[in-house]
Amino acid sequence: MKRNFRFGAFAGLAALCLTATASANPLEVPVPIQMNVFGLPLAFSHETIVVCAAVAVLIFLACGFWARGMNKDNPSKGQVLLEAIVGMFDDLCKQSIGPVRGRKYLPYIGTLFLFIWTCNMAGLLPVPEMHLGAEHYEDLNENGLYDPGEPYEDTNSNNMHDAGFPVPAFEEPTKNLNVPLGMAVLFVVLIGHGSQIRIHGITGYIKDYFSPGGFIGVAMFPLNVVGKIAEVVSISFRLFGNIFGGVVIITVVSGLLYHVIFPVGLYGFFGVFVGTVQAFVFTMLALTYIAMGAAEE
């Protein structure tokens, strides 16, 4: 248990350090961290990293706290909640994939739902983009409201120091198309197709592309290929379109109403309700696509 705490703190610190490095660039366009893996450029956006940090810290701390008080005979409220969530996904996996093999996919599916749900909820936290400890040109703008202004840019000295400690704004990472697309590739292609190859063999996997079989199967091959690509496209664009659409509606309507009262209801509907439903839909579809290749006979 102590190890859980230490690991959680370590993960959170590491992620915060990454965030700090990511935000310390003077460009206006937030360029994410880029690295080359085998020649392929990989990029992480700030929001993703912040949410990753939050999720890591929260989940590890929660595990540490709740695991200490867990008791089979006299369960606490938190334990009942956790057990209900885990039990629901356990049932879903068992129903879709099968009683034995379904258990193996439970960690993937549960993590996917928790990650996407936390991503969709991240926009609710009222944390604007800040530079802690930065010196500003002016504190009041022309309307008399507080304005953090642009931090000094002194290229001669260390940029980190002058710009202050950067804290990026909390926004839904899922409104950036790269995040849903990455999750779709990871879960549909890597886990879905991967487990199909592992269970049915490479011949069984290729045979699936000629799916009705025989002469018609050869004619259906191009359609099956497009269909497999369309799975990834539709699952990722559905999440992206919903979250991005919600953000656009909240921004536009809040601007029209001068941010009086109504945005709370909008956040309740498009933030909490649609975010939860779409996280569940994404998880269910990923589970379904995995089950198409990995279901027990």
């Binding site: 497009v226 664009f237 379109g241 656009v248 439903v277």
Partner: protein, 248 residues
């Protein structure tokens, strides 16, 4: 750049105007199923009401996609496009609006069909609510796949073709030909998404009822549903392929 601004505003209006038709019908149609279910099982009123709200939210998804494209087009129309006149760029904006506008007709109405049947099925057999909800979510998602294809084509038309002024500076002949290709691209995907969405929604609505009536046969029902819906969806994929081939 008068023509592009004109067609961007025209596209914005068409996208939201056409996009509201299907979803509005669908979101209203869900309530009829809810009322039928309440007439059958008055004691299940709170559960049916909750289920109705979820289904209405899902049925209005396609109109949210139309709204996104509409607002993006509105911003592009307001921007000062500093480029010579190009029929192709104007056609890209108009086609983006038409594509998502027509494409959401079927999905909105189809989602309404699925939702209505699902809520009524919960009223028929409240004990299988969990399974019906699961199949309902999958059926909604599948019925909205064609309209997501049209959203993708719209975004391609907006950003890959319209936004970077790629079409500007061509000779007059090529400009007109490209305009035709782009309009065809938008209309192909938009109109091609209507039928499959309604077809899949018929499958999905019957699946919800079958799940409520025979919960033990869930595995067989789901297999039939997936095969049937995939074949029905293949017509939308034909439209997607042709529409990507038309891209200049």
């Amino acid at each position: 750049m008068d023509i592009a601004n004109l067609s961007a505003f025209l596209g914005a209006g068409l996208a939201m105007g056409l996009g509201a038709i299907g979803s509005g019908w669908g979101a209203g149609y869900v309530v009829t199923g809810s009322l039928n279910g309440m007439a059958r099982q008055p004691s299940e009123q709170p559960g049916l009401f909750r289920s109705m709200l979820i289904n209405q939210a899902l049925a209005s998804n396609p109109s949210i996609f139309a709204l996104v494209i509409s607002i993006l087009l509105y911003n592009m129309g307001g921007a000062d496009l500093d480029a010579p006149d190009s029929w192709a760029q104007a056609a890209a904006f108009l086609a983006a609006g038409l594509c998502v506008g027509i494409g959401t007709l079927g999905s909105g109405a189809g989602s309404g069909l699925v939702g209505s049947e699902a809520v009524e099925s919960v009223g028929r057999c409240p004990s299988s609510q969990g399974r019906v909800t699961m199949m309902m979510l999958i059926a909604h998602a599948w019925a909205q796949t064609p309209c997501i294809f049209s959203l993708v084509i719209s975004l391609v038309l907006l950003y890959v073709i319209g936004g970077f002024n790629q079409m500007v500076g061509q000779s007059n002949y090529i400009d007109i030909v490209n305009a035709g290709r782009l309009l065809g691209m938008g209309l192909c995907m938009g109109a091609g998404a209507v039928g499959p969405a309604i077809g899949i929604a018929f499958v999905g609505s019957r699946v919800c009822r079958a799940t409520a009536e025979a919960p033990d046969a869930l595995q067989k029902i789901r297999n039939t549903f997936f095969v049937g819906a995939a074949v029905s969806e293949s017509t939308a994929i034909y439209a997607l392929v042709i529409s990507l081939l038309l891209k200049p």
